[in-house]
């Protein structure tokens, strides 16, 4: 067993770290205050990330991407996670599910997404279908050679800046033995200028200021059959094949942010003096730092191992769930304790800690809540026993 990262991985990590520190850190406060990324800043970061090959680094080299495996990508995500989500998402990683494009679709969607010419967003969640995705009400009905889509999606990340949506919609029902009826799901590629589709501003979130969610409305939105991604009714299979690593992305970004908060806390605990000594010398503070360092490393090991398993085609849902669950809950504890170490100052917006703490909250919710992750893990444990 070898835990050593490669020379290339170390270089990539160093390079991405410098990119994040030099191109993203300086804009964090303004993004936080304005609730959006100024257009010129967004353009500069996008351009620089394309120039440096960090953009679409998750896509295979032969398709024009960076060609990084899941393990290296997890390290990259960890470094990107150090900065505000609104800034790091400008280093866009097109959804892996686009690799299910056929040749003709690839020319229109996959390659332009990799080149940074078009931006994708992914729409699954609905007001009435969160954890229970199959309960989605958005439906597509065949009409001749076309599909007619009706319904509403919400919480759709960066749909406001995207050019097209990778849409999950119900296209029928099937009987599952002993479990009643369930919906059949199909994935569609829907351009944002398609008549009948509307992107509306979403809600203001306490987490990730400057990163916007949107509401998508489909009102008799008509798309030709050539817009079906993969096979009709096989949408969940596609998601299973291509989206399983996205939980590792959440885990990795949590680790990056936790590391940054922890580094600040260590420095503060070593320099802040009360009662005649640095506060880190008080066991109450020193032990917090020790526990956090241990938890951060544990979370990192879980994420890196799951990513490594993914590269071997051996990752289970449970592996990804454990990594995401532990990393996101670790981040909540770490940001909370870091604020405790800073005291009142930790809550002021002079320091980034208060926003790390706010931002941490969503990580236990999106891409599968902590409860869903625990469900996945426990189901995996009990099923062999028939439980």
């Amino acid at each position: 067993m070898d835990f050593e990262s490669t020379t290339e991985q170390n270089m990539i990590v160093d390079s991405v770290r410098r990119f994040v520190e030099e191109e993203c850190y300086p804009h964090e406060n303004e993004v936080e205050r304005r609730g959006e990324v100024p257009a010129e800043v967004a353009e500069a970061i996008r351009a620089k990330s394309i120039e440096h090959g960090f953009y679409a680094a998750n896509m295979p080299e032969e398709l024009g991407g960076g060609g990084l495996d899941a393990l290296t990508m997890t390290m990259v995500e960890r470094e990107l996670g150090r900065t505000s989500f609104a800034l790091q998402m400008l280093v866009h990683r097109p959804s892996n599910i686009l690799r299910a494009c056929n040749d003709e679709q690839a020319e229109r969607y996959l390659y332009p997404a990799i080149r940074g010419e078009r931006i994708d967003c992914l729409a699954m969640t609905e007001p009435g279908a969160g954890s229970d995705l199959r309960g989605m009400a958005t439906r597509a009905e065949a009409d001749g050679d076309d599909w007619v889509i009706n319904g509403t999606k919400h919480f759709i990340s960066h749909a406001d800046v995207a050019d097209f949506t990778i849409l999950f919609a119900a296209t029928g029902e099937e009987e599952v033995q002993g479990r009643g009826k369930r919906k059949k799901i199909t994935v569609f590629l829907v351009d944002h200028d398609t008549p009948g589709m509307q992107v509306r501003a979403g809600y203001n979130s306490v987490s990730h200021h400057g990163y916007h969610n949107s509401i998508l409305e489909f009102d008799n939105c008509r798309v030709p059959a050539t817009q079906v991604l993969g096979e009709v009714h096989r949408g969940f299979d596609l998601a299973g094949t291509w989206l399983s690593a996205s939980r590792l992305t959440v885990g990795a970004t949590c680790i990056g942010r936790a590391r940054r908060a922890h580094e600040m806390a260590v420095e503060w605990a070593a320099s802040r003096k009360q009662f005649g000594q640095s506060i880190g010398r008080f066991q109450g503070i020193g032990f917090k730092l020790a526990d956090m360092a241990t938890e951060i490393e544990a979370a990192e090991m879980l994420c890196l191992r799951a990513a490594w398993l993914h590269d071997q085609d051996r990752m289970t849902d449970s592996d990804a769930a454990k990594a995401k669950l532990y990393a996101s809950e670790m981040l909540a504890r770490v940001t909370d304790e870091c604020i405790q170490i800073f005291g009142g100052m930790g809550l002021m917006d002079e320091l980034p800690l208060e926003r790390f703490w706010r931002d941490a909250r969503i990580e236990r919710i999106w891409d599968g809540t902590s409860e869903i992750q625990r469900h996945i893990i426990s189901r995996d444990l009990l099923r062999p026993y028939g439980g």
Binding site: T7, E8, N10, M11, I12, D14, S15, R18, F19, E51, H52, G53, F54, A57, E61, G66, G67, L68
Partner: protein
Amino acid sequence: MKVLVPVKRVVDAYVKVRVKSDGSGVETNNIKMSMNPFDEIAVEQAVRLREAGTATEVVAVTIGPQQAQEQLRTALAMGVDRAMHIEADAGVEPLAVAKILSAVCDQESPDLVLLGKQAIDDDSNQTGQMLAALRGWPQGTSISKLEPGDGTVTVTREVDGGLESLELPMPAIATVDLRLNEPRYPKLPNIMKAKKKPIEQSTTADLGVDITPRLKQVKVEEPPARAGGVKVSSVDELIDKLRNEAKVIQ
């Protein structure tokens, strides 16, 4: 113009180093290692000369253990053409390094050797000067600007009270300071390409250089903790303290 850039593997500049408890050195277990930051500036300058078409070839060389090849990969990813690894245990002294580099100069015949002014581990600030002496080549140390001319390079040095310009006929040695440039961070495709480039390997014995230590390291200890300052009540008292306590004026 052919440029040779020696690079050294050192403890990363952002690591807070700890002295080993036995005083034999600093702790390097599980510590991030990087290219000496001044050497990185030298690599950047050489690569810029290459991109401007002034330099025709840039060769990076390192002397160190097997792991020092990591720093060569960084140099390759930044844009140097070739990389040479001369294997040696850690702790090669400045004079031995200068002798090895002189032997490399015999092989490679560079027009310009660009070095960091010092390595941030032992801060010796000797290698460039010793190499210049061994070669009998002109040198410009701690430069903040470099302009290539016709068979010469003009360098600017930051000295007390102003800037000093020197025109050096080539072949020449220049050691670089912090303000010369800001090194780039490598692009992902270049990192991938650097992985595939060969590294030429040799040993100090191949070059016929004796690296037997001539210096003895007695002890490594942390600098004393900074004591608090004192207020003086008059200029006379200040002068008295400077003369008799600090002994910095006569």
